[in-house]
């Protein structure tokens, strides 16, 4: 199965035929990689397209990315290709054993041929974009890849998950969802309902992290509600309060928050003291500050393995998306 965006790119190191040393994925820290799979059987047109990628190497570099070309061609053939087309980007021979890297990325056809394809891998080693042969029979226009790198630079990022984050599920689960939401936002309420279904259906496969993103401009009660969730967390009942707040359907007055605290069995006196003293206001400020730094603006913003999810917020759509990621890592339910 061809690896999809959101999956960790398999590491490898291969020798270049047109440069000294080894290159690969997992060897460049803090750098993006444009990984081009180039078949051993190719027409002149495809070789010319590869030369176009090579021509744009400085443009890719400006966007913080290196270009690597992996081919199952024998070394001698690759050397000839590099000479004929004056290609300077590292041409890596994936011929021993043949096409083993291509196999790891899932770009082998049923009859064992390497499918021309391009992966864009981010600084964290996660695949962010795939141009596969079924959509782009030859290589995609390299300017499209450049354009993707531009958008990747500006895209909202998931705030890094910290040890003290509010999270459910195993820390090493193959899929991590980071939900930046607001208890007074009806879209967040819908999303939370879908996430609860998912969490039950995919128990053990996903980790869910919550970060506060109260939209204070119009949601006047959202910040205090977020503080209430943290106050409950201080008593070991964050998720109980989290769910109760979403179930409240935006009824989040101070009196309501205190009532919910009682309903889930908190020490209400302590809860009220924490709430009135805004003891956890700093946590909310920190979340908001991190959101701003990562270009996250509106609730809800859901990140799945670090990528902002833009599809429908229904449990069916989310389940289908996550299951496709799990299949890539051989962990489908």
């Amino acid at each position: 199965m061809i690896l999809q965006p959101g999956v960790k790119a398999p590491h490898f190191r291969l020798r270049a035929v047109n440069a000294s040393g080894e290159f690969g994925v997992g060897t460049y820290r803090d750098k993006k990689v444009v990984l081009v799979f180039f078949p051993s059987a190719f027409e002149t047109e495809l070789a010319d397209q590869l030369a176009e990628y090579d021509r744009l190497v400085p443009e890719f570099k400006d966007q913080g990315a290196s270009v690597l070309v992996v081919s199952d061609s024998p070394e001698e053939d690759l050397k000839e290709l590099a000479r004929q087309k004056a290609i300077n980007a590292p041409l890596l021979s994936d011929s021993n054993p043949r096409a083993s890297v291509a196999r790891a990325y899932g770009v082998l056809s049923a009859d064992g041929a390497v499918l021309p394809s391009v992966f864009v891998i981010d600084e964290d080693g996660v695949i962010r974009r795939l141009y596969e042969a079924s959509a782009y029979p030859n290589l995609p226009n390299p300017m499209m890849v450049r354009r993707f790198l531009v958008t990747l630079r500006d895209a909202p990022k998931a705030p890094p998950v910290a040890a003290n984050d509010r999270s459910r599920g195993a820390a090493d689960a193959p899929v991590t969802l980071v939900e930046c939401s607001d208890y007074e936002c009806r879209h967040c309420i819908e999303l939370d309902a879908a996430l609860r279904v998912l969490f039950d259906r995919l128990a053990g496969k996903i980790r869910l992290v919550h970060r506060h993103l109260p939209f204070e401009e119009t949601h006047r009660q959202a910040r205090l509600a977020a503080e209430a969730a943290e106050a409950a967390g201080a008593q070991g009942k964050f998720w109980e309060m989290h769910h109760r707040l979403f179930e409240a359907g935006c009824a989040l007055s101070r009196d309501g928050l205190i009532r919910y605290a009682g309903e889930i069995g908190l020490d209400v006196e302590r809860f009220v003291q924490d709430l009135d003293a805004h003891r956890f206001g700093g946590v909310i400020d920190e979340h908001l500050s991190l959101a701003r730094a990562n270009r996250i603006r509106f609730p809800p913003s859901l990140f799945i393995n670090g990528i902002l999810y833009k599809g429908p917020r229904t449990d069916e759509a989310l389940l289908a998306h996550i299951e496709s990621l799990l299949r890539c890592v051989g962990d489908a339910p």
Binding site: A135, N141, P142, M143, M144, V145, R146, R147, F148, V150, T151, D154, A155, D182, C185, R186, H187, C188, F215, E217, T218, H219, R297, F298, P299, P300, S301, K310, P312, R313
Partner: protein
Amino acid sequence: MNVILIMSDSYRRDNLSCYGPAKVKTPRLDGFAKQAFVFDNAYCGSFPTMPNRLDQTSGRFCHIDHQWCRLPDETVTLQQILSGDGVATYLIVDNPHMLEMGFNYARGFNAFEWIRGQETDVWKTSPKNIKLPPGGPKKYRNYNTRLGNYLRSTAWWRGEEDHFAPRSIQAACTWLEENQDQERFFLQIEMFDPHEPWDAPKHYVDLYDPGYTGLAITFPHYNFWRDFLTEEELNHCRALYMGEASMVDHWVGILLDKIDALGLTEDTAVIFVSDHGYLFGEHDIIGKSFLPEDPDGTMWYEAIPLYNDIRRIPLMVRLPGQTGGQHIGAMVQTPDLMPTIMEMAGLVTTESKSGFSSVQMLQCGMFVKEDWKLDPKQIHGRSLMPLIRGEAKKLRDLTVTSHTLLHHTPLLAKCAIVTEDGWALHYAGKYKTEGAGQGGAMYLDKLINPALSRAPKEPLLFNLREDPKEANNVLGKNEALAREIHQRYVRWLVELGIPEQHLAGRRELL
């Protein structure tokens, strides 16, 4: 995704071979159609030019409560919402009506560029002495008023690149080059061509009427053509128009090449659309909106019925990376563009239930800013995305193309209602006092004179499947059906929230 909206005014649907046999040569748009979703049943909503633009930017059928007007201060526009969300928004416009007289349709764009001199735009005061073309005010619209001004604005032209559509497209290419690294953008290109005056370079016109030596009437009256044109002149008007349509095609092709060269196909949707068509002898008329005019070309008093060749529009949508074309038969209308573009920009999604869909915000904060608030329920249009994704088969079961309803006279308040099973009802209202208009910025009540009426204003029913040219009124034999369609139309108006004062004269068919 980014969106590039290409609006070409008066671009008849049948210019394009994707809609059937076409006389106009449009190789680039034909190629685009093979890569795009082609909407076979797209209709103008509010008519003509500026009501259409208000529909497009507001997502509302504005004929129920507005007329040809400056952008109302209270209208929350598509570009305003996109800009508020951080999308880089830019308007390139040569259509003068968007901006002249304080019309302000650039409001909400981050920035705009006005390509000056088109049609009524008052741009230049020199050269002082302009020679008006032969034909005089009998043949020409605006002969003694605006035509000289137009000729002044174009007197400096030396080659094709100086014409309006080419200048708009060149500005768009430059903007794309300079803005290709924007995170997200919305570029709207407002080309007035192939609207009159028709003055494409000769090699385009020679594609259609080579060797013609008669009068070339580049800006004819809107009227019954036999009253003032010879058949040869009418044919040449058509050739002038077709030449300009081919010029638009050529330059849209240059824009598509630029989009490709910059790699913007990665994440950029391209929409090609027009606002309405134009009659070249169909129903004995040349023109589209009002007739007849006095010889000075500044007055009008009667709306032309919104026939098939006026109300249908081309609409094509190419999504990022799309290489295969597909036709979509659902009936769609101009107000649908606004929620579609918002969905493309990632601001809303649509919920599809039982074949119908409604717009939903994806996140809080999108439609609420310090200065304005939009309730998505106020949007009449529906996103085309569920049709494109195959989730929905239709958005509506009738379309309405309409002149403004504000003037309360059947001379003006004409509309065409088309059902999905192929009936067209032309309807102009049943008003107690004809000519009792409300006045307004554009129409002077004193010029509304029922005694001079020459175009139909009584209800007409056509069976489009048997009679696509709308030649045989069959209302007499199908009165019950006409009444049913009319009642559906009245319910539709009520659903839109039409003010009672404008609905009152339209509750009855006959």
